[in-house]
């Protein structure tokens, strides 16, 4: 049995039916990681011992008749999400030896639901990047073509799912960090509504934009994981006190006659011709096979989203990353006085992209520039959010590409930060507005690279957005395609 080819829901069914024990399933995946991850480098750490112990425990519980919703199901976690007793490095030298004394709420909830954690996945340092090349340890390769990037920053999680090292993983998304790698690796990635999932224990990058979400082989699996990580958390005052609906049940929602807005700004200059074609083909499926209506709409402030984001996110980051001072945890580089110790620690501990963003953020927040940059960007953020509010008065969903191109080559963009930033052009607005963004495969380029489609929905529209994605994936069934690695 090729266990790694089964989506989470199918693995869970087999576990429940007693057709496989968690220990066997976990072992099979660990074997596969051992055999193949040297080519992909998706994992920063494989927690073999803990995973096997958790799998045995799950099997014991099942034999004792104890039911848990995800009992025995193996998953991976992005390495900026805290795991008690297991290093959480953020792919940074400054946290290379950091062992959290607590679990993030999402990890606690997954463990409570019975999940088995296989390991921690690679990312761009502190989730800052779009290719996973900013990891201080090593870059991750795209399983569909190892000369290409897996996207980022959740590139390790996306590559792990695409390579069949696990069928589900958690990532985080501040400007597209779940959706863009999902698109590059041909898997599903969901950025839930801001506040839908607790951020407690997610190492903060830009607190008003960060959100944890699932990367999976199918939309159905994304619904399954969201079910158990969503919900209010007293430890995160920005988590929303909204009820958690039954996402799996909602997948069957009848969406015939619903309206899809197609923003003209998402199909302009810079969009790769093949990507455009695949997204247009998908729109035809939504119309002709699923019975939805599509209409052109405008999100007029789209051209300002990248500029807005690259003020707000670095500003928040410069403040959040002030905590790495060589005192409480992480690297310390000794010096004679305190200020020198801070400077040496931070200069040796952070990589170039992190420093660049701290510098932009510090500049934008510094005396005399605050109004011109940070306040201005926060006002434009209002305009971007209003674009969506107005659009969602007329349409139920908005659909466009996830990224302007399929996966690009390793090292192609590392020397040009601005060009790298522009690969987030279609994903950033969703974070600024705090709405739902779902990335799912819609085809392959002539070179055999996955192409992704983005479905955007209003705040807390996860049930409908996932339903639409699920009904679409059941037509093309692209989740059946696996890369040869």
């Amino acid at each position: 049995m090729e266990w790694h080819k089964l989506p989470l829901a199918a693995q869970l069914e087999k576990l429940r039916a007693g057709e496989v024990e968690s220990l066997a399933l976990t072992r099979a995946l660990l074997e596969r990681i051992k055999e193949k991850d040297s080519r992909i480098k998706a994992f920063l750490k494989v927690t073999e011992e803990e995973a096997l112990a958790a799998a045995e425990e799950a099997d014991r519980k099942r034999r004792a008749g104890e039911e848990r919703p995800l009992l025995g199901l193996p998953l991976a976690i992005k390495d900026n999400i805290c795991t008690r007793g297991i290093t959480t490095t953020c792919a940074s030298k400054i946290l290379a030896n950091f062992v959290p004394p607590f679990d993030a709420t999402v990890v606690e909830r997954l463990k409570e639901a019975g999940a088995v954690i296989l390991g921690k996945t690679n990312l761009d340092e502190f989730a800052m990047g779009s290719s996973t090349e900013n990891s201080a340890f090593f870059p991750t390769k795209n399983p569909w073509d190892p000369s290409r990037v897996p996207g980022g920053s959740s590139g390790g999680s996306a590559a792990a799912v695409a390579a069949g090292f696990c069928s589900g993983a958690l990532g985080s998304d501040t400007g597209g960090s779940i959706r863009q790698p999902a698109s590059f690796c041909g898997v599903v990635g969901l950025k839930p509504t801001y506040g839908r999932v607790s951020r407690y224990g997610l190492v903060a990058f830009a607190s008003s934009l960060d959100q944890i979400g699932p990367l999976t082989r199918t939309v159905k699996d994304a619904a399954l994981l969201l079910q158990y990580i969503a919900g209010h958390d007293p430890k995160d005052s920005t988590s929303a006190p909204e009820e958690v609906p039954d996402y799996l049940a909602a997948l069957k929602t009848d969406l015939k006659g619903k309206k899809i807005g197609v923003p003209k700004e998402y199909f302009g200059e810079g969009l790769d011709e093949e990507v455009r074609q695949k997204v247009e083909d998908a729109l035809r499926i939504f119309r002709e096979e699923l019975g939805l209506e599509t209409k052109e709409i405008s999100l007029p402030h789209t051209p300002y989203a990248v500029a807005t984001y690259y003020i707000i996110a670095p500003a928040e980051a410069s403040s959040n990353l002030a905590r790495y001072d060589g005192v409480k945890y992480g690297l310390r580089v000794e010096a004679d006085d305190l200020i020198e110790m801070y400077k040496k620690t931070r200069s040796q501990g952070f990589g170039p992209e992190v420093k660049r963003r701290i510098m932009i953020g510090t500049y934008a927040l510094s005396a005399g520039y605050y109004d011109a940059y940070y306040k201005k960007a926060s006002q434009v953020r209002t305009l971007i959010a209003r674009d969506f509010e107005e659009a969602f008065r007329e349409v139920d969903f908005i659909i466009g590409p996830v990224a302007p191109t399929p996966a690009f080559k390793l090292e192609e963009r590392v020397d040009d930060p601005l060009k790298m930033y522009l690969s987030d052009i279609y994903t950033i607005s969703v974070n600024l507005a705090g709405i739902v963004g779902l990335s799912l495969p819609c085809g392959f380029s002539k070179e055999g690279l996955p192409v992704g489609l983005q479905i955007m929905g209003p705040h807390f529209s996860e049930p409908q957005t996932l339903a639409l994605g699920h009904q679409f994936e059941e037509i093309l069934k692209l989740y059946e395609k696996y890369p040869e690695i």
Binding site: P101, G195, L209, Y329, M359, Q379, L383, L418
Partner: protein, 95 residues
């Protein structure tokens, strides 16, 4: 848009970072590029627009001031580069 080396040094100090000569020049250039790009925000009239600092309309969240279990001192200090008698140790501040 151009940024002088002195400005980069000043911002680096505020951010508690230090750079080599070569890095300073590269950063000055890259920051200038990024800030020039960002200047396009100036095209928009935002004089009557409220800024958004948070995507959801959540207001302050209050809770009862109750004593709850917290992290034991030992665990809280476990990751500290240097510690002594339940405290973090830093280089001497008062000369």
């Amino acid at each position: 848009m151009s940024i002088t080396k002195e400005e980069v040094i000043h911002v680096a100090h505020l951010a508690r970072l230090e750079f080599s000569e070569e890095e300073l020049e590269r950063f000055a250039e890259q920051l200038a590029d990024i800030l020039s790009y960002v200047e396009k925000l100036g095209e928009l009239d935002t004089s009557n627009v409220e800024p958004t600092y948070h995507a959801l309309k959540l207001t302050n969240v209050f809770r009862e001031d109750e004593v709850k279990e917290s992290l034991p001192t030992e665990e809280a200090l476990a990751n500290a580069p240097e510690r002594e008698n339940g405290f973090f140790v830093v280089p001497k501040v008062i000369k």
